[in-house]
Symmetry: D2
Subunit: 305 residues, 4 copies
């Protein structure tokens, strides 16, 4: 049941968007084309059916279809991670092992969250330990309080990091102190991945191994560039790149959500397309704001080089 | 597509718990027995697959099975409401029309909530209007910020109440000012149901039509008694009953969640059974606290008579 | 040190605004005129230098001046309560005994709040017990989380209500469940006063003794009318009055703060005048909104009669 | 009115604790001794009567006494900053100019915060601009949402940084993204100082000029060491020092507040003494926890060298 060969999760992973046609059906060809473009970058791998992939809007069948298609479209050196967290323990285990069967290297398991006040550290510990015991691939904890209202704090991560099948965490709150506390308390080799492009460099500075960044769907090379600047100790350059990425991180991802990111993809040569309802399409003013951010961003990145 | 015959939603509705066996499979016989007991009360009807019914832990097949079973077990005079809210608009419509086909009188539609910051009043309005347009039975808005992080405020409820197929709201925040603001702003005949036993009487005082109360699964007669005292203007008695229900509302429902309520059912002659994981079973100290609340509550209710 | 003669705090108290001249100096004549008008109502008494009195903008000398002036302007049957809460225990005791010396019947003592995370129930208990021990007049607890970030919960109130010199609480959160929990847990005779006009009637319904209502500065008769309707069991009328007061409570007090209330006073025949800086004067659109609320309110109250 | 000679605020400043005797009176000799010890470090200067100095518990006379004493005890090369923020604009201006008269180089001006909902960006802008216009020394904005409930966001800081007499900000939220956004948007030369030792290094990484750190009262050399490691580009060392400071930052400052910090000072050869009431003295278990943190910290720092 346990996975023992080490998986190197350092680097940048985009949580892929899920392309839809105008009628909200899956746009498989466009997915393949997006992946083909990402294959030509230095991205470390892909997360499929994460939050940005609109996982909560997908049926079980659609989810498995997406996993299979990306598996086929990606070369073996790209690490594939499937988002498999559901509200019930049994459903999460079921999804995780489906992903394993389809050749995924690891699963990203979001905290259950509907019954917030019951999701105490003890309840979360039991949940993740049960899933880890039953999963045929290693799992990463996924803490995303802006969506779930639940944050996994360092003491719980430390406790879970002792399990051989729990190999990392995606921490998406943007709280750099929490990243530092997690880094300081987990076993060696446990991968702390940051899920917020706006705090990527400061998180790397305190010891994060990499990032699962929605922004990397739109700006993969720029995110990878920041990663390498930080890793190679080019502080000035890393700071400059981080500051230049801030408005994009804020507008494309945080303010306008999946719809904003998909619009940006359309502007940048990928397929974005519509988000599923109830997400609204972007207003004209939002489109204009993103256009300006992308323009200003382009200028700033160039001057930083 | 629209439903025009008026449905009287005043009174008390329990959101039924979903009985499970020890292996987490549906315990259908026990469900039937619980409903048979509730049939002998003055409850106005039942909500099936609401939050308390652990809707988010159920598969689509289980959900439809539960709807069919309760439909069969309940007499025609009990109003049946199905919880049908999903994250995507299309899935909510699909579930709502399944419930219609199975003979449900109305659907309770929770706010989508995962992408919280995108769930603006405009996005929620479009969501509920689309669902209402497509639904073959009338719908109620379900606002439960303690689980979703999203509250539907009075101006939006007023706007939605203009749609002929949106006939009411379950407002579960416990915020009595919000109940009053909604009552003051919706069209006549729109049913404001409170989803919090701890504020049932003050909510009725400002004009709520009734309640969908998890506590009514455990204490149906006492909740109905409070409803009638409030309606018939017995202020002293209503106040006393409300204060006596407070500790039960807090312990059985708010503090210990579905597990606490199910434990109480087991103590009170219904079938409670286990909750699905990741919900934990109750600790011994929690059981003890509930036992004490039930004992003290029994004493207080008696002295109030 | 203890005060034993009982003080009946039922009814409606306005927390008086502090009139300033255009140069921000105290406008004593206008204060006297306001009090003279309030003397002709059925208000139970006055709170001086509460939050609405801009207590935190006043020097020690100004505070004592205001206490002396209102003492002189008010007839003996009006109960006078002084706001005396400071951040340090010693300063609060000092102010409370100054108010006692100037003839005040009781002191309203706000929770210290700057060091929020340190203000545990134990720290607050020690604070209030020390102040109560040292005070020459009885004190009321003042819990106003919208300003302080600190709420005093029922178990702590129950504990403090055992002290003979702590005779009541002003609970301003608008949380009716909390009011009910406090009523259910304190000793008999302990006065629970609500500090939110928007939830006045539902709070009275669950057992509050009265209210300290900023709205009563502008609309004293209407607040008193609601109080008497609720007390005499006229449910329909109380509900109607409460709903009619909602927009005024929201606009005049919650949305636009002291500046909004002072503007309303100017419109209603009292002296409002400017608030002290950094409070801004009202925008034209805010003034217009208040004008409309006052107009609509007038109409609705009349039709309710 | 304006100050034009540039003041270099880079480096580490402790916000000095205010020593009290057992009877809560000022302990002036102990203050002088503490300052004498700090004079032998590389601290850039001192903040007097900040939050950590229990400013809100001090009378006006005590405040001025403290300013005068520290002025006398500190050598000219240490930059002196006075905490002068009060709730009213006029009182803040009065205090700021008292500090100027006593020889302080700058004033640290906390956001007014009692009437939170009225403290909009426009109201805060007017406040800081008025104070800056009237102040005879330059001012720093002080944003400390954990105490005030109010955060000053980057667009407002950018706007205020245009005023020649507003020369910097102390940002104490620990939100590194906000630090980065401020750095990216203010005029050149505007000093962004971080007020949270737990995020000192990541904040420096994104461009902060230094820190005003409560932890630097207890561990001045270690904070200065981290500052210099970060500034000289020793990433590994800076990361290690930051992680080693985390438990101290959390326990001594965040969890146990001023009482925890003063206890630590007593353990480390400074005078700590009691905090003023209502702050409680430390429990034995809290003391024990701090003892352990100081011991573990000492070990870790040594091994990092």
């Amino acid at each position: 049941m346990r996975h023992s060969s080490p998986l190197d999760l350092s680097g940048v992973f985009p949580p892929l968007t899920t392309p839809f046609n105008a009628d909200e059906s899956l746009a498989i060809d466009q997915l393949r084309e997006n992946v083909a473009q990402y294959n030509r970058t230095l991205l470390a791998g892909y997360v499929v059916t994460g939050s940005t992939g609109e996982a909560l809007f997908l049926t079980h069948e659609e989810t498995e279809r997406l996993w299979a298609e990306v598996r086929q479209a990606a070369p073996p050196e790209k690490i594939l991670i499937a988002g498999t967290g559901a509200e019930s323990t049994s459903q999460t285990i079921h999804l995780t092992n489906s992903a394993a069967r389809l050749g995924y290297a690891a699963a990203l398991v979001r905290t259950p969250h509907y019954f917030k006040s019951q999701m105490t550290p003890d309840a979360l510990a039991e949940y993740f330990l049960r899933v880890a015991d039953a999963a045929r691939i290693p799992i990463l904890i996924y803490s995303v309080p802006q969506f779930t209202g639940i944050a996994v704090e360092a003491p719980l991560v430390a406790r879970l990091s002792e399990h051989p099948n729990i190999i990392g965490i995606k921490e998406s709150s943007g709280n750099v102190q929490r990243i530092a506390e997690i880094v300081a308390s987990v076993r060696a080799g446990f991968a702390v991945l940051v899920g917020s492009a706006a705090t990527f460099y400061p998180s790397l500075a305190v010891g994060a191994a990499g990032g699962i960044l929605a922004l990397a769907c739109a700006l993969p090379n720029e995110c990878v560039e920041l990663y390498h600047a930080a890793r190679s100790g080019e502080m000035q350059r890393a700071q400059q790149l981080q500051l230049s990425l801030l408005p994009a991180a804020t507008s494309l991802v945080s303010r306008f959500g999946v719809s904003g990111l998909k619009y940006s993809l359309d502007r940048l040569g990928y397929y974005g397309g519509p988000a599923r309802r109830p997400l609204l399409s972007l207003s004209e003013s939002a489109k204009h704001e993103i256009d300006e951010v992308l323009a200003a961003f382009a200028t700033r990145v160039i001057s930083a080089r």
